[in-house]
Amino acid sequence: MSVNDQSYIPLIEMDGVTKYYMMAREKTTVLHNVSLKVDHGEFLAIVGPSGSGKSTLMNIIGCLDTPSEGSYKLEGSEMNGQSDNKLTVMRNQKIGFIFQGYHLLPKLTALENCELPLIYRGLPGKLRKQLAKEALERVGLGNRLHHRQSELSGGQQQRVAIARALATNPPMLLADEPTGALDSKTGMEVLNMMEELNQTGQTIVLITHDMEVAQRARRTVVIRDGVLTELGRRNDDEAYARLVNGREERLIEQA
């Protein structure tokens, strides 16, 4: 797939996205004219301190919310102004969510948790079980299928969450602070796993406030006060290093 191809459709194409909320009759703008393009197969990190608007950006990318202005195209279809149901279908088909707090259902087993998005997709039970099992095996939890959340460690829980996100084989994994609740060693394992997934062609969008985590991505954008700035790609080393080092210090100060 080449960028020069006329029929090529990027995974994410954001153009002039603005988001504001009405708070006590006062308009609070959270995102200012954000434009972003993500291709299939990328590993993108969106970095920003708390209050920068990165959660809002993630919600819009994740089809959990819609822009106030501007255009957001996910695999070519416009999301702005879509109905709740259409957004739900897009979430189910295009996106695998990985949350900071894992967001597993505590009463369900690992396998059942991974089956959830497949249930809402309307797949038959046998296929569901097979896909869920395969996903869990992919994250190395083939021997923990029938464990509940309380019987798993934090790292294992996050891996179940990753498996759940992978089960539907979505074009994009959207990870919100995936290492936020983990110790650094387990966090590193989770990041390693994401890196591996990316190497098999899985697009990953990672949202974090932690520059160290963001460095694992191949491309980084920074969001501050609702404005998005491209930091660079890991392969154009010099510029990247300069930008990262310079901004990293400031970001850490502010965080």
Binding site: L105, I119, Y120
Partner: protein, 396 residues
Amino acid sequence: MKLTQGLLMAVKSVLSNKLRTILSMLGILIGVATVIALVAMGKASSNEVAEQVSSLGSPNSLSATITGRGTVTSLTVDEANELGDVMNIEGVAPVTSSNAYAKYGKTQASVAVEGITPAYEQVKDFPVQDGRYIAPPDINNASRVALIGVDTATDLFGEEGENPAEAVGKKITINGYNFTIVGLLESQGTSIAGSNDEKILIPITTAQKIFQTSGVTTINLLVADTDLMSATVTAIEAVLYEKFRGNENAYRVFNQEEAMETLNSVNETMNRQLIYVAIISLVVGGIGIMNIMLVSVTERTREIGIRKSLGAKKRDILFQFLVEAVCISGLGGALGIGLGYIASFVIGLVMHTETEVPGDTVLLSFAFSALVGVIFGYLPANKAAGLKPVDALRYD
């Protein structure tokens, strides 16, 4: 999402929170059990009424009472017997009744005396246990013979220290006239109209003589086919209407069905009121379910957010919570039916009547409890379905 999958999910969730499920279904359970028990009780009392009414006579009997108002005040025995010609009438037993004093030795008793014809035995199904019945010659000769009821026999002869069972052949006086007892009547027990065993039966001609009356007071009729009861009643009324020259106040035709209906309508009114009370308790139970479901929605906000982020549509969430509510109320209804059966059994034992739980009531109360689940589950389910995934995920 598939329907069966949704059902399975809801049932799982209901079962995973047992204490809460039981507590929230309690209202419906008690409501349904009350309905079942009350209906069973109502059935029992209407069965009792039917029993009492049938003790007035068999269901194929009919009686015409001559009240004697208007220009023609009475009916002769022959005229009464003519009613036997009306279609569907199998037997006619005209009666003239009055009260008199019967005396044996030194014992005296006030007793109902009925002047009868031999047909009385068949029409009223009231045979003798000892001696003979009143026969046609007794009517023709106006004989001074009498049949005596067991209670009256006990009153008269028991007081004198004699065995009431050996009443036949004894001589008594009725209003001073000498009578010979020729038969002891079988015991018929007590009906709502009074004791059937406290009476003396004498030939109708004799009765007319000693009480100086010419007509009959009551005509008992036996109907061949009870399905034609109302047509027969109409025909009898037509004959009597003509005999009394259009004075409808002079007679009254009375049949059992009518009596049963009157008594049952009282019963039904009472039952209906009890059912209203029970329905109110079902509604209260429904409100209980709504309460719990609303709490459950708040408690599971994050779960709803997770499900929505994974692709659960509005209607999937609505369906899930609605099915949960219906599961709770339906389960409550089912257990309530069981409890109602037990309650009606216990009531039957305590009240010494046979209670009966009609099948349609069971079905209806189950359907109603499920409906309560739908109605009172809708608001919480709708609240859950309307949550925004962003807000729901942020909720702790």
